[in-house]
Symmetry: C2
Subunit: 183 residues, 2 copies
DNA sequence: GTCTATAAGAGGATAGAC
DNA sequence: GTCTATCCTCTTATAGAC
């Protein structure tokens, strides 16, 4: 059974957006891979932008959940570790999906509009929490750096040919992020 | 004197590519901002791709210089610090230019072709050197993470509203990258 | 060196038959 | 739900006058 055409379209789109980029991927290509015509896609999604939104939303939801939880917690070393761990989980789970953002930020920005602003806002809130209360500029820079380390979960696809076990990646990157954070 | 039209075009293109993305920026927009017509651009650059190449090449050259120097050095803690420092300098100096790459990697990949492969190759060589001789998977992950920290030089534009002095940024990010690297 | 005019094509999106 | 056919707009790029 291939019951859910809508879901198939979403999966194909994730694959293409994450490798070729959002702008570089035409609806014709997606339709071809799914085995439909361009016009048929519009029955399932009213626009290319709507398709993008359907793809990206789960990641935003994940970030928001982590952020909401964090902001209810005191900024202790244990809690920082916990928050970074949870965030890393979200990133690893949504790996293919997040590549969509990294492949063509400009295209996503142009298409996603307010959704993108939401992502910036959530990411900013999270970075601010990680930086701690009344942070110095240096602490804020370190917080940004720590977040960038987690991004290595995606870059590693480019640079490491061999497969890395999710568990090892989580462990190493968490420790590395904490290293980037402390003075 | 506005003697060098060619250089003016390059500067306007960097500005637009880095904010709107390579694909999202049309030659019409560039021409408009420069005060020429689209057709006139083609007198100075034979194609949009050639324009991109002219923009990106200096960054590639910078990376290559750092990489070549690194590969002639032993992998000692002092040398690692030196290499990361030099790389950070290159990134800070070429900040607007590097944003072109980050804004629309997919578009750049599609247009730059072999040039892009060169960049991947150089970045890979550098990451490998930073990981040290016969590295474990964990060491390679940490090397990737350290490189990502340097990228915070660019992300900080998004997250830090206030201006950060180049000197402070270099100091903090270098220390943070070293923190990400060590176990 | 810069212009006007135009070619040649791809993209997203819609109308309406089946 | 899927199709064919079409619209409209925008793009990169070229031809040729000045």
């Amino acid at each position: 059974m291939d019951g859910d055409t809508r879901e198939t379209i979403r999966e194909v789109a994730i694959d293409l957006f994450s490798t070729r980029g959002f702008d570089q991927t035409s609806l014709r290509e997606i339709a071809e891979r799914v085995g439909l015509t361009k016009a048929s896609l519009y029955y399932h999604y009213p626009s290319k932008q709507a398709l993008l939104t359907a793809i990206v939303s789960p990641l935003l939801d994940g970030w928001r959940a982590v952020t909401d939880e964090a902001e209810g917690m005191a900024h202790t070393p244990d809690n920082v570790r916990h928050v970074l761990t949870t965030l890393l989980d979200v990133m690893v789970v949504n790996r293919p999906l997040a590549s969509v953002l990294l492949r063509d930020p400009a295209g996503v920005v142009a298409a996603a509009g307010p959704l993108w602003q939401d992502m910036i806002d959530v990411a900013t809130r999270l970075t601010n929490w990680v930086a701690g209360p009344e942070p110095t500029v240096a602490q804020r820079l370190r917080a940004i750096a720590a977040m960038e380390v987690l991004r290595a979960a995606y870059s590693s696809i480019t640079y490491l040919r061999e497969e890395v076990a999710d568990a090892e990646m989580r462990e190493v990157l968490l420790d590395s992020a904490l290293g980037a954070l402390r003075r």
